[in-house]
């Protein structure tokens, strides 16, 4: 695996930030996730909370760090000596989306300004397997990479006060799913009945960093049927293990 130059920075009284170069890429993510796994396997003297984003890991300690520079040395040693035996399979999740205009409130505008038929927008959006980089912004909101340049579209200058749960949207060079009702400035192109965050479940969000998301275009009839199966807990989302 490619080696990156890492920076270690104290971040408040309880946390240390580990940073990769300012790049969004699958290689950086792989390096981040490998280090994260080693940190999770390490037996720290106190409880730690480890989270990551595109090019960073934050290690937060439950009490004040005695000597931050000693602790940074410990973190560095884990990178070189820690183990990552536990192989975590990456999963491809097939997410049904209804792109009817009833849901895709901004499809016509994107079609007009990007000079693409709506059917072409849907084709481009469903062709890609999007990489899950991390979860942030809202509970269960996946940061996805891989949106086709032809359907990049700037965020709205005035955000909508309310975007419905399940809305599938495009914001600049990114695409994503609103896991819950929220204000938001992204352009809505469809809706999924799949729940990306459910506090009733032991694991509230089924997807994890390193997984991929594929959007499958479904009719309104299928959308309604999936929604009612989800309501009665009879729906299992289609998925497959990704071979590296």
């Amino acid at each position: 695996m490619k080696k990156f130059k890492l920076q270690y920075k104290p971040f408040g009284e309880h946390s240390i930030l580990i940073e990769w170069p300012q790049i969004i890429s699958e290689n950086v993510l792989k390096s981040v996730l490998l280090y994260k796994q080693k940190l999770e396997n390490f037996e720290f003297k106190q409880k730690v909370y480890i989270k990551h984003a595109y090019n960073s890991i934050l290690v937060s300690y439950s009490s004040t760090i005695n000597n931050i520079y000693d602790e940074i040395l410990t973190l560095k040693s884990i990178l070189y000596e820690g183990f990552d035996s536990e192989h975590n399979d990456s999963i491809l999740w097939k997410v049904p989306v209804c792109y009817d205009l009833e849901f895709g409130l901004d499809l016509e505008e994107i079609s007009l300004k990007n000079n693409l038929e709506i059917s072409k927008i849907i084709e481009l959006h469903t062709n890609e397997n999007y990489l899950v980089y991390f979860i942030g912004f809202l509970p269960g909101f996946l940061y996805l990479g891989g949106l086709d340049k032809k359907i990049h579209f700037p965020r709205k200058s005035t955000p909508r006060m309310q975007i419905e749960k399940g809305a599938v949207a495009i914001g600049g060079s990114q695409t994503g799913i609103y896991p819950n009702e929220s204000p938001g400035g992204w352009n809505i192109i469809g809706s999924t009945p799949i729940e990306f965050f459910n506090v009733q479940k032991e694991n509230p969000c089924f997807a994890k960093a390193g997984d991929k998301i594929q959007f499958i275009s479904v009719s309104k009839v299928d959308y309604d049927q999936i929604a009612s199966s989800i309501a009665t807990h009879d729906y299992i989302i289609e998925s497959e293990v990704i071979d590296d």
Partner: protein, 282 residues
Amino acid sequence: MIKVLHPGFYTTIQDLGRKDFQHLGVPMSGAMDMHAAKMANAILGNDTDCAVLEITMVGPKLEFNCETNIIVTGANLAPKINTTIVKNNTLINVNKGDILSFGTPINGFRAYLAVTGGFQSEIILNSRSMYQSITKASKLNKGDEIKIHTKSHISKKYSAIKMDSNYLNDNVISVFKGPEFHLMNNEQLNKLFNQEFTVSKENNRMAYQLQELVTNNLKGIITSLVLPGTVQLTPFGKLMVLMRDCQTTGGYPRVLQLLEASINLLSQKRVGDKIKFKLKAL
């Protein structure tokens, strides 16, 4: 049980928050002035993770349906039991039918009400802290009933711990360098540490924005991790101090990081209050 006769301006149930779920994008939450909340529990002899009520500016009116011990810490919002004025930081015995209400705020912005054994609301993702889309309600509403332990379950161990409310009058916010501190130029640093800043009307449990602008030529960063107490500098030049309900990630330069004690102190400030930043070495 406690009955909410009037919810006040913005009253929520809070505890130490949800530390285990940031990797799923769940905010930390928890009492804004964690010090005041912890002291309330400590004086009552409660466990430190017992849920308290966080009362913002204008207090609620609450009726007790059983005998218990209570305490109010943090802001002095002129608490009263029935018609008798009671003191902050002092253990109070309440009887069945007693009504706790509040008057005109005297000092500070957020008060904490603890009861013996803590408020027994639903635990979601290991915490009782209210947050929209995680808990059913995001604040108390009129007519709500919250379960508390009745007196027969109360342990008698009282603490000799005393709480000092003098910190409410401080206005120095101590900070460490944030991850993007080094990107700032001398003019920006000069402004940050030699000028007073005013709490703007955009202040809530997610973030406190400050009124005075700091000219900003910094590039945004690739979306990275943030914490309660992170001070972001927006492209418009606004300083945004993230608080307990903040998102888990953000894309603005993180120029400063508040000490825990300073997050508690800032929680006690309201629109128009002046603060000064003071840089501390780690």
